[in-house]
């Protein structure tokens, strides 16, 4: 039995996460807030009454949602010792090719009081092989100041995705495929990383971090998988970074 437990919130996209290592903190992940075609993304909130989480014998969670004539997706969530794995399979059920496709999955630390960072002072990314504190790097000011999006090294330019460009808040810096928040006592890290992410997102209002996976360019009828890992781990930022590099080695 690992340190992490997960509990779904029925009729929502939310899974609550608790860690025995950080008993005073409550984490939440919303899987996903939006998904599908990057130029016509589906907002899931209006359909939450249809979400029925199931708990599998191994403790993992899953649900599926069908949006007629547009998309179908299946979510599978597994708790490990100090990580939570999220697998999403997305099917293009529209009659058009999606030039970009994504899942906007939100890892929220607002009630993780040891971690919550509403001023961006303990939030980090990776840039050309180094850890950087985001507040020391360029930010695109917008009419919604708490949010910021970041492109990912090796991925298509973030603003090529209309979903991303619409926020008008994409930083000029491009990061590795994760975002991390260090706890106030510097002894823990919450982080999110995806395999092949399309872009990253941070909202200081909720102290949330996203590493939004890219499902590629699915043609009608095709499916593609994506993988996201959440970390709620003891240790310092460097130890997280080593883990990330091992877990997401090419």
């Amino acid at each position: 039995m690992g340190a992490i437990s997960i509990e779904p919130v029925q009729h929502s996209m939310v899974v609550r996460i608790k860690s025995a290592d950080f008993p005073d903190d409550s984490f939440a992940v919303t899987i996903p807030e939006s998904i599908g075609d990057g130029s016509k993304s589906i907002w899931v909130q209006p359909m939450v009454s249809r979400i029925e989480w199931r708990t599998n014998p191994d403790g993992s969670l899953q649900y599926e949602l069908d949006v007629p004539d547009e998309a179908r997706y299946a979510v599978h969530v597994t708790a490990n010792d100090d990580t939570v794995d999220i697998e999403i399979t997305l099917t293009n059920n529209s009659n058009r090719v999606w030039e970009t496709s994504h899942a906007f999955t939100c890892f929220n630390g607002a009630a993780a009081y040891s971690f919550a960072d509403h001023e961006l002072i303990r939030t980090y990314g990776g840039h050309t092989g180094k850890l950087i504190r985001l507040i020391e790097h360029p930010r695109k000011p917008s009419e919604r100041p708490p949010i910021q999006l970041y492109g990912v090294e090796g991925a298509p330019s973030a603003n090529q995705t209309p979903f991303v460009a619409g926020f008008k808040a994409t930083s000029p810096i491009v990061l590795e495929g994760f975002l991390a928040i260090v706890s106030k006592n510097r002894q823990g890290v919450m982080a999110v990383a995806s395999r092949n992410p399309l872009y990253l997102f941070n909202n200081l209002e909720y102290s949330c971090i996203h590493a939004c996976p890219n499902f590629g360019r699915p043609v009608p009828g095709n499916s593609a998988p994506a993988f996201t890992r959440l970390y709620v781990m003891r240790g310092d930022l460097e130890s997280f970074y080593k883990r990330f590099r091992t877990d997401f080695a090419a």
């Binding site: 607002a110 009081y113 001023e119 507040i135 009419e143 919604r144």
Partner: protein, 230 residues
Amino acid sequence: MVDLEEMIRIPGGTFIMGTDEREIDEMSRTFRVHRSWFLRETPRRDVYVADFLIDKYPVTRGQYARFVRETGHRPPLASRLEEPGDADMHPVVGVRWADAKAYAKWAGKRLPTAAEWEKAARGTDGRTWSWGNEWNPNALNWNPNEQRDARRVGTRPVYSYPEGVSPYGVWDMCGNVAEWTADGYLGDRVGSVKSGGWLTSQPYNLRPAFGGFSQWAENASPFIGFRCAT
């Protein structure tokens, strides 16, 4: 004797709004913050504001409770105080932008514009904080070293920080609560919030020119309150 209903007259005229490049460079160096964090405050400019009145103190829990009792309006989000004594004299928090506007209307007032709010806080000389240009950690209720968190609300009674009073005699314009103002963005889905509050740990986020906590209008926050103007 504290008169919570007292309003301060702010004379019409121009004042210096925003932040200039020199100040940004200095803050960027001092606090290791990229200068883009401050770009929404630029350019520093002369702004004319007509004569107006502004509440001397933020709206308190006690005042807001009376509004809720008399109108049946939604109460603020439940929140436990760090120091519950004299709770009615603490600024109200946990209110959405629309709640703040509804209170102001009920009181026969309105929310100040962001420009009015900033003028009431800084006066006309372009000072950095309401009391002057030198940081004074004792002049406001803030969150040094992030010692507090949102489990308990860390507001203080609105008369607690006389050293922080603005040139016009307006209290709590830096710290205690960040404040909703009348300005809106993104089709009024985002409400303008000025300065920072008891949960704010960085001095640069507690300046009256700061608007980085402007947030989704539908959301209430444990460190955002408001005051009214006429």
